[in-house]
């Protein structure tokens, strides 16, 4: 778990903070029914949210066009970093929820 936290800390360092906040908010809202605190306002953000949403709900249903619509905004590998960050935030969130139910806290 400490390494997952370390991965998150690195994601915070290398991903645009506004974008990371958007992705975090999207994941938290979807998995916990919390109220959204930020919203997608640009075409880039909307494209990213489409990918994050589908990753969360059913990654197998993610199509090439949806991914490429977001990836085109991120040259030089940044899109892959963003996808890794989305996974890390999602994993920490799901793990926190499930561990609380099953173990009363962090796994």
């Amino acid at each position: 778990m400490a390494l997952l936290d370390a991965a998150y800390a690195r994601a915070v360092e290398c991903i645009d903070p506004d974008l990371l906040a958007l992705v975090t908010d999207r994941i938290t809202v979807t998995l916990t029914d919390a109220r959204p605190e930020c919203s997608a306002e640009s075409d880039r953000d909307r494209a990213v949210c489409s990918v994050v949403d589908q990753m969360l709900i059913d990654v197998a249903g993610l199509d090439d066009a949806t991914v490429q619509a977001a990836a085109r905004y991120f040259p030089d590998g940044e899109f892959a970093d963003l996808v890794m960050a989305s996974y890390i935030i999602e994993a920490r969130t799901r793990l926190g929820i499930a561990a609380e139910r099953l173990l009363g806290g962090v796994a």
Binding site: A91, R94, A98, R101, L102, A107
Partner: protein, 177 residues
Amino acid sequence: MTRAVRVLVGADGRPVGRDAELVGILAAYQDAVVRSSHLDPVTTELVRLRCARQHDCRICQSLRLTDAREAGASDDVLAKIDHYEASDLSERHKVALRLVDTFIWRPSEMSDELVGQAREHFSPEELAELLVDITKWSTQKIHVTLGTDGTDRVPLNETGIALLTFDEAGSARVTSA
């Protein structure tokens, strides 16, 4: 669903330009998870393959854990994963697969009944390992999203299967079945 490689990849088939430190930490996390040894190998394999099928990860579906095979995770056993509730898998294995499904779809809706079943069939240490195992086997979502989960570099046999082994450090090795 057909899936193209969706980002620029290098000669090794991996996305170019990623943050090396982030990749390294995530790899270290995965290595640490597979070094855990509270769960039996058959349960681990059932959990891994359920994740692979839910996420439709092509590489992961083509792999079989060597130690799980040796412990009884035969093709016949693994064929029961898709319809596990109606199968003759043990209740312990069914509970593990229910936990996978709940974790992947809506962990906040985990029922009291499932929590009770989980605590009946697994120790706290096993449950902790099972949960982090699901996160490890869900790193597949990264590869599926990027379209880098193809099997073109995997030494598949005539039935489309290869063997997956982890060394003591947790590093993966894929060999022909």
